[in-house]
């Protein structure tokens, strides 16, 4: 018999299997291995000018990941951007970052790899460029942002971004990394476009235990 004990009293019940406690006191036992990547929020763009995550970013997790999936712009070669909130209501944390891009034309006619001076930041408070994406029906971009220890009030806040984009017949990957050069906690992340709106796309915020 695998289920050795099912101890109940009124609505209090533990679950013990083969001598191992699996459930007790309204929660999984701490010894049960569980996933460390927790989905906190999902936002779906529908002609949206911004996508904002402004709750749940705190000391609960030491790392947060934002994933964007099939972000499709209204305007061709539209830029997806991100910015961070460092205490006030504005998304304007001071940032320094580096950026490089790898590209390959669909017809094989061109390749590129190089630093992108137009997409890095030097103590800038404006939005961090992620990438440009075409707006043909099938074109989109997908990627992810890692933000480390946003609630720290001692250290700067490192972020690392990887994005893949269909940009008018060219496959492009963008790699961006930098830091919010502030010791105030980061408590909000906002994705936006440089013009028009995000026609469609899914955005997910995860916490890493």
């Amino acid at each position: 018999m695998a289920l050795s004990k099912c101890m109940g009293y009124q609505n209090k019940m533990g679950l013990i299997s083969n001598g191992t406690t699996l459930l007790d006191a309204g929660a999984l036992d701490s010894g049960v291995p569980t996933g460390s990547m927790t989905l906190l929020s999902t936002a779906t763009a529908n002609n949206s000018s911004t996508i904002t995550f402004n709750s749940g970013i705190n000391s609960t997790y030491k790392e947060y990941i934002v994933k964007w999936i099939n972000v499709h712009p209204n305007t061709n070669d539209q830029q997806l951007t991100v910015n961070f909130r460092d205490g006030s209501t504005a998304y304007d944390a001071t940032k320094t970052s580096s950026a490089f891009r790898v590209g390959h034309a669909e017809d094989g006619s061109a390749t590129e790899i190089g630093y992108q001076t137009g997409q890095d930041l030097a103590q800038g408070t404006g939005a961090q460029s992620i990438h440009y994406t075409a707006n043909q029906n099938e074109a989109s971009s997908s990627g992810m942002l890692h933000l480390f220890d946003p609630s720290s009030t001692t250290f700067i806040k490192h972020y690392i971004i990887v994005n893949s984009s269909d940009r008018n017949g060219q496959c492009e990957q963008q790699y961006i990394a930098g830091y919010c050069n502030v010791t105030a906690a980061i408590d909000g992340i906002q994705l936006a476009t440089n013009e028009n709106t995000i026609q469609t796309g899914t955005f997910k915020l995860y916490g890493i235990k």
Partner: protein, 203 residues
């Protein structure tokens, strides 16, 4: 008796049968003036064997005692020493706060060619109060005794002299012996503070 709901076995033999998530936190080290940070299979609740196919290490706000210290990693391949033979590549992307310098280039001083010394994974980390490095190291199939052991690291550092530096490192432990330990340290001086988390990715 197993716990079965709607014909699905939920729990049996002392464990849940359903997937509770594939990224499992194995160990967290919170460091304070430490010479190094070691994760060794079988020690201090660390599992680094064939239980998982991939292991991930997240190093968060590693702060050195000594300024411009490189952050390093090495691997143990059977003995007690962290000295597995490694070959790797390294490149970086750098930009300073004054907007006077950018760099995107291969880093010949940060790669290894059958080296047994420590692998650099974050460059010249500053020791100012708010300065640090953070990143991720993936180690694939460390218990395999047929193949080499691949690792990939990506880290951003507050590079001394007010620069953002992202270091990309990839390589392999060129051994068929199992890797059963991973060790992190700064090239000079202690780890003043930082958190390193070890995860296993379920097969």
């Amino acid at each position: 008796m197993a716990v079965i709901s709607n014909a699905t076995t939920i729990a049996d033999a002392g464990a849940f049968s359903v997937n509770l998530g594939s990224m499992v936190l194995i160990k967290t080290l919170t460091l304070s003036n430490a010479a190094n940070a070691s994760f060794v299979d079988g020690a201090s609740s660390v599992v680094l064997d064939n239980t998982y196919s991939t292991y991930i290490f997240k190093f968060i706000n590693m702060h050195p005692v000594t300024d411009t210290a490189n952050f390093l990693v090495n691997f143990r391949d059977g003995g007690s020493a962290f000295d597995a033979t490694k070959t790797s590549t390294a490149f970086r992307s750098l930009h300073d706060e004054a907007d006077t310098e950018t760099s995107f280039a291969y880093q010949p001083a940060s790669d290894l060619a059958q080296g047994t010394g420590y692998q650099l994974i974050a460059q010249y980390v500053g020791n100012g109060n708010d300065e640090s490095c953070s990143g991720t190291l993936h180690l694939f199939d460390p218990s395999n005794t047929t193949f080499v052991k691949h690792y990939i690291s990506k880290a951003n550092s507050y590079y001394a002299n007010n620069k953002s530096n992202c270091q990309f490192t990839g390589g392999y432990c060129n051994v068929t012996a199992a890797i059963d330990g991973v060790d992190f340290k700064f090239a000079s001086g202690n780890i003043d503070s930082g958190v390193i988390k070890m995860y296993g990715i379920s097969k």
